[in-house]
């Protein structure tokens, strides 16, 4: 399957998913991503003209720390709870 890659700036992180961020975890992920690439795409859902982060805050932060402008994603349906 072709990977889906989107601009990081199009990903909105809702307040409920913003933290806390474990800096050590971000650093370790950044090292892994720099060496092996992002092995597990982050999870987003579409929301009008942007995407909303569903899961993968630390992976997203690690990609940002590496200066990446795009990220590999899996896209799931928005769910009403």
């Amino acid at each position: 399957m072709k990977d889906v890659v989107i601009p990081i700036e199009e990903i909105y992180v809702p307040a409920a998913r913003r933290g806390p961020i474990d800096a050590d975890k971000v650093n370790a992920l950044a090292e892994s991503i720099a060496e092996n690439g992002l092995q597990s795409p982050i999870l987003v859902r579409p929301d009008k003209a942007r995407y909303v982060l569903v899961s993968g805050l630390h992976r997203l932060e690690a990609c940002k720390a590496l200066g990446e402008t795009t990220v590999k994603v899996n896209i799931v349906q928005a769910v009403k709870h």
Partner: protein, 194 residues
């Protein structure tokens, strides 16, 4: 996990569409393929009207090909079809993550093959605390394997029902029944009489 004899609530369901690919469909008698895909597609359309999220997988897409176009066309635009590298989908981290994120604890399984990926997925979901519900006439595997897969799951406590049964459990009342059929049309899929 909830008692398996209670009614299925649509607001707790996700519909898992597993490995509906020509590679597997072509093992079935030719006359069975189209009706099976039609029943799965019909359930996907019902699910969308009822806001039941759908998660689709296809096994080793590079080798076995994509989800059949008749069904991929029913997914919301851009939605991921997970490239499944395991038989029981709970064993793959990105799929397990997506299922967790959906927050639905009842997994309704359709697709192929009944005795392999459907059975292993249902059993591992049940082990993980999900309520697994398999739709027997929306799953397939060449005889006698379909029946063997259903027996394996039922013996392990997985709920087995059919397309008509899950439709009415999702719908529950005449107002919702009219809303769904008003949205998708009154014609049931092949082999189903509402």
């Amino acid at each position: 996990m909830k008692a398996s004899h209670s009614l299925i609530r649509r607001d707790d369901c996700a519909l898992l569409v597993i490995d509906v690919q020509d590679y597997f469909l072509n093992k079935l008698p030719e006359g069975d393929r189209g009706p099976l895909v039609a029943r799965i597609g019909w359930l996907m359309r019902v699910a969308q009207v009822l806001e039941i999220p759908i998660l689709a997988t296809a096994e080793d897409i590079a080798r076995d090909g994509p989800l059949v176009p008749a069904l991929s066309a029913l997914l919301p635009r851009g939605q991921t079809v997970f490239d499944k590298r395991v038989f029981g989908l709970r064993d793959q981290a990105d799929i397990a993550e997506a299922m967790h994120a959906l927050g639905r604890r009842t997994s309704v399984l359709v697709g192929l093959e009944t005795d392999v990926c459907i059975a292993q997925s249902a059993l591992s979901l049940a082990d993980a605390g999900y309520r697994a519900v398999v739709i027997d006439d929306a799953c397939g595997s060449p005889a006698p394997n379909h029946a063997a897969g259903l027996r394996r799951m039922r013996d392990a406590g997985v709920m087995v029902t059919n397309t008509k049964g899950i439709f009415y459990e999702w719908v529950r009342d005449l107002a919702v029944h009219a809303k769904v059929l008003g949205a998708i049309g009154r014609e049931p899929p092949p082999g189903v009489m509402l």
